[in-house]
Assembly symmetry: C2
Homo-oligomer: 338 residues x 2
DNA sequence: TTGAAAGCGCTAACAA
DNA sequence: TTGTTAGCGCTTTCAA
């Protein structure tokens, strides 16, 4: 591998000039810059990351800490990971991905070894033991998700509360007189994710304001079994106009399947709003009216925060909520129907 | 952050001794080792990754190059990513994740900057432009997936051909007299993934050996629409005993939904074998007899190869195929039925 | 069994 | 606008 010294020699300049051409931290004449860049290209020069990190104090790597074990739905995390890496790449940063149940040790390692410049922490729980550690790392940390105590760290999240409200508002506006929210099975609810409660609270509050009865149903057991047990209570009172809010992709699938079995027509006999990405909403046999959790948007904002904290030395502790977006599809009647 | 020099001073030894305690590359007396380790703990010492990479020539980081854009199913990649990172962590390695459509530039960067010690390349296509570059990187590269020309690189893959055969064999053994393989919509087939052809070839070959008619059906358009158009041909001749092989999670869902609509009972009126993980197979309303693509196993073997190439200097170019595993569930009748 | 010292390849003062 | 030079924190000869 060619070094910056090689480049300097070939270009007939000093090594520091090569460095300044790369970093742009001091003015370089056009002629010199051209010579250096030609030499770099000719030698296929890449600056050694280790040396760079050692001398400057930037690694150009950020750490992404995810806990896949706890994550609600697998497919759901990927858009975050994807957007985080692309946003990083756009700034010439790389991403070290850590998948650990308890990321505490990993974070201490990443920061302690000066392997990364900043950390993005995902899957935040209402009571999250990792945050105390994260706050003492000495490098910027941005949370994707909210905790009851963010320990002064910047946080970005989807506005789940507003999302729950939006789903209910759509159902009410389309004429439904009874709302059911399909909640989490006990394993997930026990995980202490703030967004589950937030979504449900938002839904309940919106129903209260609209003076429409609402009930949150939670399967006793996971899987289709739990869904079947819930079916009678779920479909109860549907003659008056029933609106179902499904909080997960899995729940959407189940509701659609249940309606097939019962020969109920989505959007006519029963209205359904799901919380899922647009792509998924469109893939169902009957396209689902959905509230999108905007993973791309959330990740993009989180990365903007990261670079913000890296460039300027702003005070941290800000919270950014990404608003939900509802798209009307075939599982809800046109507004004002009935 | 404490440095190894600080540790050396506190322990009353030289800096090189501290280094040797960490690397274990020369014998250290028990007493000295104890002193040094105490000092390291007291100072919360973490060796600086950049300095280490610069002086030694190991970064203890491996690169994982994925192309999420092209990937067939999103949820399917996560187990690979998860296992790769865990296997790395077990060896005190970190993973830099790159998501790029064309990973060529990324690989050159990762290797050129000496950011990683080795690379794992995923989503290999039959004709994969990236492999020529990968082969000249000067660091170990292990492929997850097969190409027509592996360029002398080590490759690990699931045995899709055998998997296709296994699915058909199960259906034939359970008494089905006609086999339909539900293939890919045109966008995916066009991606030139060897595993699609491999799976289908394996299925066709097995049917030929068993002298059972087989047909591969490919939806014209993506989504449920394409599925509906296929329905008549799919269900054709089911009176004689029809066995369906669904190659993707999506296809399994569709087949189950179609059977619901047609009031056909899976495992009785029609037999179904799906290619998907055990976890997914169990989550369907009727648990699906499945062939598992064993992502954990594949990733584990791939990582073993990586460390093998890193430690010893073996010749590369080996191919490892992970055998499929079929689990009988409720969508196929007990063997010998009918 | 241990220490001293010379770099690894870059960045960033300090000079000119 | 450019060059000189002193490190960054580790690994690894070479000596003892």
């Amino acid at each position: 591998m060619a070094t910056s010294k090689d480049v300097a020699e070939l270009a007939g300049v000093s090594q520091s000039t090569v460095s300044y051409v790369m970093t742009g931290k001091r003015p370089i004449s056009a002629a010199t810059r051209a010579k250096v860049e030609a030499a770099m290209a000719q030698l296929r020069f890449h600056p050694n990351a280790g040396a760079r990190a050692l001398a400057g104090r930037r690694t150009n790597v950020i750490g992404l800490v995810v806990r896949l074990g706890v994550t609600t739905d697998m497919a759901g995390v990927l858009p975050f990971i994807d957007t985080v890496t692309s946003e990083a790449a756009a700034r010439d940063f790389d991403v070290v991905l850590v998948t650990a149940e308890d990321g505490t040790a990993s974070m201490l390692r990443l920061a302690g070894r000066s392997l990364v410049d900043a950390i993005v922490l995902m899957d935040i729980q209402a009571h999250d033991e990792r945050l105390a550690t994260a706050a003492t790392l000495g490098i910027p940390v941005v949370l994707i998700g909210l905790s009851t105590d963010n320990h002064g760290l910047d946080a970005v999240d989807f506005d789940f509360r507003r999302a729950g409200a939006l789903a209910v508002e759509e159902l009410v506006a389309s004429g439904q007189r009874r709302i059911v929210v399909l909640g989490e099975p006990p394993e997930v609810a026990a995980k202490d994710f703030g967004f589950v409660a937030g979504f449900e609270d938002g839904a309940v509050e919106a129903a209260r304001l609209a003076e429409v009865p609402i009930v949150v149903l939670r399967p006793e057991v996971a899987g289709w079994r739990g869904m079947l047990e819930l079916a009678p209570r779920l479909l109860e009172g549907r003659e008056d106009g029933l609106g179902i809010v499904a909080r997960t992709p899995q729940a959407i699938t189940w509701v659609q399947q249940l309606m097939f079995i019962e020969r109920l027509e989505p959007g006519h006999d029963i209205a359904l709003v799901g919380l899922c990405t647009d792509a998924l909403a469109q893939s169902f046999s009957v396209p689902v009216t959905n509230v999108s959790p905007e993973p791309d948007q959330v990740s993009r904002v989180a990365m903007a925060r990261v670079f913000d904290l890296l460039d300027t030395d702003r005070p941290a502790g800000r919270i950014h909520l990404v608003p939900p977006r509802l798209t009307h599809r075939e599982t809800t009647p046109p507004r004002g129907d009935r």
